[in-house]
């Protein structure tokens, strides 16, 4: 949503018609509009006016909305009074003008509001403007373009937004806005619906089988284990995420140690430590890999090397069977059995039980010696494996297994020795770097050691959870099998159907859950990368941007790997700016992608930002960093600055990129102020921000601002 124009008439501190026109810039470019104002002259009222315009918010004046009208205008009014805010937006290359107004009449010394705050669409025509009452369409569109939960995010006051982002506080907290962005409520509703459907099927099933106690018992147990499985899955995901974070923190600390030690006496040690740690990791993975392979070869051997002594005897018996024409069994036991039942010879001729007694006896004898199909196949496989010359014979296999195990064991032994040496060497280096003369590095090494231990704990936890998960899955599968059998036994087709529907519902539930998690994870990863890209490049204190995987709110990670939210000043401003710019870009991409796959959320244009007092909490150095950061990051930025924030470092960084500038000329009768105090420099010109006016109304004069373009 890009603004073309914003007009305020007699709204709050602005008297008369006040206009801000935004420069027209193409998609790939960015524009910066600067507004300079004296302190307390109504900068923030621009953002309030926008909230009123977009959502009809009375800004706290619900009982007496006429207070939104400028005090001076109210005082001077004789009868009807009107205030309004109007904007022209460029949405997908089309202009859209709309106005929200408030009208009142003066009744004695009081005011009565005579019109609601409805939104009017303005159609510009050759015969003048036409007003059309919006039937809710524009309102809906505006709420879609800028969800109310995200308003404070795009049009914000520096400190207030910082608090909301770090603490998740606020009337409509940003956290809630971010949830809206991911349509989390819709996902949750879908999950709830499917859960309800599954519950309904489970209940119907329970009612149906209430007479079958065993079925009911297993069904209940199965449901309990399914809940446990879900819990276990969640815990596992959390542990995996923690593992990833710990690994990242470990790696970040490694980089930080290297960075801190550059050019110093500890440089060689720090580089060696990193090298050895990497070797340790690679070697550790190699040991795990070798262990896995040894386990597999051992299991796959199926104990055959222990049977070598049995080979000759077994082969003799099998060869005898071959000689007696029993192996391979051309005619199996089952076939002979069937023949006997029909009283036929193996050649097909009918056998008479009395006349052909001898023949019958032969067939019966043959049946006694004939093999079942399974045994026949097993014996043939065995015979083949016992052949000395066979390519996959037992003897060859035993030799191969022994050779492979021998190689793997030797390699493992070498790795174990190497691991021991590396451990020793790492400890020695850590010991040397623990000397207090290395200052910060000592603390980082200590922290890295702690992270290394934590990594081990998480690894064990993950293994435990994986085992538990496998066992639960086995029990659930076991239950399902029993339930299927019981349903078959009792021949209740309805039970089978309900069981199947319940299972389908569960699968859908799992799918929705997994999809939401995947979306959240992908969103989180992209945000993390993007915010890091902006923030980490600018800050110089070694902190790194960190995005909470659940809330998507920002924090910073100290060089020691601690996540901190209690930050302030310019650091906070940088983090907040990085976060909002990343989010806007991501939001736009998300909409584009959804639009491409046919999900009707529509495309989003670039987002405009109104940034109020963003330098207030920042010291000189950070103010300069923030100012430098702003350039070129967004297509439309309106910067509201108080005169005291317009100091040299900010001015030098911002001025070259300003496309348009405005001054709020504050009119006041307050004799404590002087006009000279509020003159600021812009492009070497003196810009007055205060105008003293005569108090010709016996102390009842109202201060007001007017907006003027600085040419």
């Amino acid at each position: 949503m890009i603004f073309k124009e914003l007009i305020l008439k007699d709204f709050l501190s602005f008297k008369g018609l006040n206009r801000i026109t935004f420069p027209n810039v193409s998609e790939s470019k960015s524009s910066l509009v600067l507004v300079l104002a004296a302190n307390n002259s109504g900068k923030t009222n621009i953002i309030r006016a926008l909230r009123f315009l977009l959502y009809g918010d009375f800004l706290g004046h619900y009982k007496d909305p006429y207070k939104l009208i400028n005090d001076g205008t109210l005082n001077e009014a004789k009868s009807n009074i009107e205030a309004w805010v109007q904007a022209t937006l460029i949405d997908n290359n089309k202009p859209l003008t709309f106005r929200r107004r408030i009208q009142a009449i003066k009744v004695g010394n009081n005011y009565k509001v005579i019109s609601n705050n409805s939104l009017d669409k303005i159609i510009h025509g050759p015969k003048g403007d036409k007003y059309e009452t919006d039937g809710g369409r524009i309102e809906r569109n505006l709420r879609w373009l800028v969800p109310e939960g995200l308003f404070d995010y795009f049009y914000f006051q520096g400190e207030e937004l910082g608090r909301q982002l770090m603490e998740g506080s606020g009337k409509m907290s940003i956290e809630k806005g971010l949830s809206m962005l991911l349509h989390k409520d819709d996902w949750k509703r879908a999950i709830e619906n499917v859960t309800a459907v599954r519950g309904k099927f489970a209940q119907d099933l329970m009612n149906l089988v209430s007479s079958n106690k065993e079925y009911q018992r297993i069904l209940q147990s199965s449901e309990t284990f399914k809940l446990k499985e879900k819990q276990c899955k969640d815990d596992l995901e959390k542990a995996l995420s923690e593992k990833k974070q710990t690994e990242r923190a470990f790696s970040d600390i490694s980089d930080k140690i290297i960075e801190l030690s550059k050019g110093g006496p500890s440089q060689a040690l720090a580089e060696l430590l990193k090298k050895r740690q990497n070797e340790w990791r690679v070697n550790s993975r190699e040991i795990d890999n070798l262990d896995g392979r040894i386990c597999k070869v051992t299991g796959d051997s199926k104990g055959i090397p222990f049977l070598a002594a049995a080979f000759d005897t077994a082969k003799e018996v099998l060869e005898k069977m071959q000689a007696e024409n029993l192996l391979p069994a051309d005619i199996t036991e089952g076939f002979v059995e069937r023949l006997l039942k029909r009283q036929k010879c193996i050649c097909g001729r009918s056998l008479h039980p009395v006349a052909d007694r001898n023949e019958c006896k032969h067939v019966e004898e043959y049946r006694d010696r004939s093999l079942s199909a399974d045994v026949n196949a097993g014996l043939l496989a065995l015979l083949n494996s016992l052949e000395t010359s066979a390519k996959h014979g037992y003897k060859k296999r035993i030799t191969d297994i022994a050779k492979l195990l021998s190689e793997l064991t030797v390699r493992r032994q070498q790795c174990i020795v190497k691991q021991h040496d590396l451990n020793q060497e790492i400890q020695d280096i850590e010991q040397q770097l623990s000397d207090p003369i290395f200052g910060e590095i000592t603390k980082l090494v200590q922290k890295q050691r702690e992270l290394s231990n934590r990594r081990l704990e998480i690894r064990n936890k993950i293994q435990g959870l994986e085992r538990a998960m496998q066992e639960i899955k086995r029990i659930v599968a076991d239950h399902e099998e029993k339930l299927r059998k019981l349903a078959r036994d009792s021949d209740i087709s309805k039970i089978k159907d309900l069981t199947q529907y319940k299972d389908y519902a569960q699968k859908i539930e799992e799918l929705i859950n997994a999809s939401l998690k995947m979306l959240q994870r992908s969103f989180h990863e992209t945000m993390q990368e993007s915010v890091k890209e902006y923030y980490d490049r600018v800050v110089t204190d070694g902190t790194r941007a960190y995005i909470d995987p659940d809330s998507l709110l920002p924090a910073i990670m100290s060089p020691q790997g601690e996540v901190r939210k209690n930050i302030g000043g310019g650091q906070l401003q940088l983090l907040v700016l990085s976060h909002i710019i990343s989010l806007c870009q991501l939001r736009r991409v998300l909409h584009e992608q959804l639009s491409e796959i046919g999900v009707g959320v529509g495309k989003l244009d670039d987002q405009s930002f109104f940034l109020d007092s963003i330098f207030a909490p920042a010291d000189d150095v950070y103010a300069k960093d923030v100012a430098n950061f702003l350039h070129g990051k967004a297509r439309q930025v309106l910067l509201l600055l108080a005169s005291q924030q317009w100091h040299d470092s900010v001015r030098n960084a911002i001025e070259p990129y300003v496309d348009k500038a405005y001054q709020f000329l504050y009119h006041t009768a307050n004799p404590k102020r002087t006009e000279e105090e509020y003159i600021v420099k812009f492009k070497n010109k003196d810009i007055p921000l205060l105008k003293l006016i005569a108090d010709n109304n016996k102390g009842n004069h109202c201060a007001y601002s007017i907006i003027k373009e600085i040419k």
């Binding site: 049977l307 005897t313 029993l326 030799t399 195990l405």
Partner: protein, 140 residues
């Protein structure tokens, strides 16, 4: 169809089977059936023909394993091989119940020996002990 029961003596060794809830990272056996055959082969290796002594104590869990599972996992030729070596006659191949008892008997002997070995070693490196046993048997 005949079933093969898991002997009591296997209790401490089941954690080296992957389906076990308490399985260790160095579990070697993909299935309980694979483990039973390994133990039976080792039992035969250790005790020879005399090892086929009946046993009576079995575990409730894991459940007895159907002979069809051994057939599906290509473990049946091993059972036949043991049977032929033990009886020196082909008749046993048709008697599944007898084959099942034979596996239970030898697996018991194998488990006793493997448990002794486990108690002397570190659980985390038991797979190495097993690989040494295999290599030793292969070199004989």
């Amino acid at each position: 169809m005949a079933v093969i029961k898991v002997p009591k003596e296997a209790e401490l060794l089941l954690k080296y089977c992957r389906p076990s809830a308490n399985r260790l990272p160095n579990a070697c056996f993909e299935t309980y059936a694979e483990f039973m055959i390994f133990a039976a082969c080792f039992g035969f290796h250790k005790t020879g023909i005399d090892g086929n002594q009946p046993v009576s104590e079995f575990m409730d869990q894991p459940y007895p394993i159907d002979m069809a599972i051994f057939k599906n996992q290509n473990l049946f030729p091993h059972i036949l091989l043991l049977g032929l070596a033990l009886t020196k006659a082909h008749d046993i191949t048709q008697q599944e119940e007898m084959l099942a008892r034979m596996i239970e008997n030898y697996a018991t002997k194998g488990c006793i020996e493997l448990t002794k070995l486990l108690k002397k070693s570190i659980p985390e490196s038991f797979h190495i002990e097993l690989s040494i046993l295999i290599r030793e048997a292969a070199s004989m």
